[in-house]
């Protein structure tokens, strides 16, 4: 099975790159499927599962999710179980088909399967611009606020990664190839990344 994992800085366009790359290569694409799979198995709120996975711990449970675990699921299905379930679901998905998995620490969980591990990054200015261009209707953050948000999200990703990996999130030694998307239209570099991926996967 050919597997590509994509880790990415918030605002670097990594998710778009993953989606387009999957289209280009004819691979399955998994991202939110992992969260909804865990939510289904655990009967927990999807937003809550996502929060635990993105932040690595459940020590500060946001009030918005509190209604969803007032009973048994909360007691019987803790953060450690969510992580374990994430690993199981990622492995199931990866065993079924050539695929691209974005985020979710799939690079670490699938280490033995020797996926092509891509890290997507960009300079802060490019990330702020990309985020502001694509902000959901009604979100009106200043550039400074956006920078803070980008740093927060990436810090949470780094935390969540550090629980299970030896090499720090974003450290190039943890990836096979790192791609800089500063000042780049994602669509334009898809042929480059796709051709690299095809040749790399076929050489292994």
């Amino acid at each position: 099975m050919n597997i590509i994992t994509i880790s990415r800085e918030f605002g670097s366009g990594g998710r778009e790159l993953g989606k387009r790359l999957a289209d280009e290569l004819g691979f399955s694409y998994f991202d939110t499927e992992i969260v909804s799979g865990i939510a289904e198995k655990s009967k927990l709120d999807e937003g809550y599962v996502d929060y635990v996975l993105e932040n690595g711990v459940m020590n500060q449970i946001p009030i918005t999710f509190s209604h969803s675990f007032s009973f048994l699921p909360y007691l019987s299905f803790g953060a450690a179980d969510i992580f374990a379930e994430q690993r199981n679901i990622i492995r199931e998905l990866a065993a079924g088909d050539n695929c691209i998995i974005v985020g979710r620490n799939a690079d670490v969980f699938l280490e033995k399967e020797k996926p092509l591990r891509i890290f997507v990054y960009a300079d802060m200015q490019s990330k702020i611009k990309r985020c502001m261009d694509r902000a959901p209707e009604g979100e009106k953050l200043t550039a400074k606020e956006m920078e803070r948000k980008i740093k927060q999200v990436d810090k949470a990703r780094a935390n969540s990664h550090s629980i299970i990996a030896d090499v720090a999130w974003g450290d190039k030694r943890g990836y096979d190839i790192c791609v800089n998307t500063s000042n780049t239209v994602i669509k334009d570099i898809i042929p480059a990344v796709a051709q690299f991926a095809r040749a790399w996967l076929s050489s292994k």
Copy 2:
């Protein structure tokens, strides 16, 4: 003109990657040509020029080169001039032909020409193995000594880079793509890198 610069950790196989990539793409390949060009213009010893460029400063001049600058050249052509000449020669070379330049801070000197900037790296174990497999006849370093040598060479490269660049040597933000050669036969990943390079250059 299509330009590719290759920066690399010592022992990562970056030079071999550059040479093979140049063959694959039909580009000119420049490496020691830069040193010999400067030596010729300045009438300085090639080994000394190389030492200054690799170490960034000339505060500790190795005794082996001392004979070559006992007179005028040393006084009239200092480290700053060597750096300036390096910049000139790199720009001349890059203006002439599609080319690949390995090391020599070409990524920084050619910033305006928007080259494809590649960084080649590997884990320490792979680098030690590669260096020991290819050690010149008579060099008998232990793995520990080799690790020290690798760190020394890379430290010197980082120093030399820091004189002219804002982003630290090896920091992925200073490159367009970073390629991990751990446990990799360089020849096997040339098609992947070449296809990436062709598509990337044609998208710019």
